[in-house]
């Protein structure tokens, strides 16, 4: 089987997931001749409240430049290979992200719905735990705190 097609990108500015998917479709169609039969998408947005339930002004995404991109590439490669996916896309925000803004987009194209859905979920969970991102919650009064874990599945 051919190596999975990977589109990994860190987004320092707000991005529009549907535009990113449209560009990905165009690139995939050109590369593959036709789009695979099954596709899964996940869009994550910043919720409007902090972990302690207070209104959130913004989320700050710090990361480890270099290691972040390498880990995303490695995890996407491993998940796609394990599930036999044809193509994987991960776009992830860094910097200051406002409530309601997209923070992560994961998309998987495969020949069947099972691999597409399972690969997408596995990759999303992996990137939450195995890629050096750190979230800091900023409140309206200027207080901030580092998030110490992930929300439940």
């Amino acid at each position: 089987m051919a190596a999975p097609w990977r589109s990994i990108r860190l987004e320092p500015e707000p991005f529009e997931p549907l535009q990113a998917l449209a560009a990905w479709h165009a690139a995939l169609a050109t590369a593959l001749g036709a789009l695979p039969a099954a596709e899964s998408h996940f869009i994550g947005r910043v919720r409007p409240s902090s972990a302690s339930g207070e209104p959130l002004a913004a989320l700050e995404l710090e990361h480890y430049p270099g290691m972040t991109e390498a880990q995303l590439q490695a995890l996407a490669q491993a998940a796609a290979a394990q599930h036999g996916a044809t193509a994987v896309l991960v776009h992830h925000r860094v910097g200051r992200v406002l409530p309601g803004e997209p923070i992560v987009l994961v998309a998987v194209a495969a020949d069947r719905r099972g691999p597409a859905l399972r690969c997408g979920q596995e990759l999303l969970e992996a990137l939450k735990h195995e890629v050096p991102f750190w979230k800091r919650e900023w409140l309206a009064d200027g207080r901030s705190s580092w998030v110490t874990g992930n929300t439940p599945l």
Partner: protein
Amino acid sequence: MLQPLPTAAEPTQQVRVRLFASLRDAMGWSEQLVRLETATATPLALWHQLGLGPEHQGPDEPPTEVRVAINQQFAAWDAPLQAGDELAFLPPISGG
């Protein structure tokens, strides 16, 4: 935010130590060059040498919440360090 060098070590005997997020804020520095004092230095040894752990923590106990990366790859607390390595201490990750 480069800190002054703690020693005038030759570059070939140093490792670059990096801190991120809550760990950086707690310690007040993000990066420094550290001279390798022994030929068998490990991340755990440098963690204690730099005073990064709580005082009640024994020298053989790695912190459970913090992970280590050497040259931008996850590594073990007892992995051998080489001169020129980049060593990072990573507080709990929260991506996605």
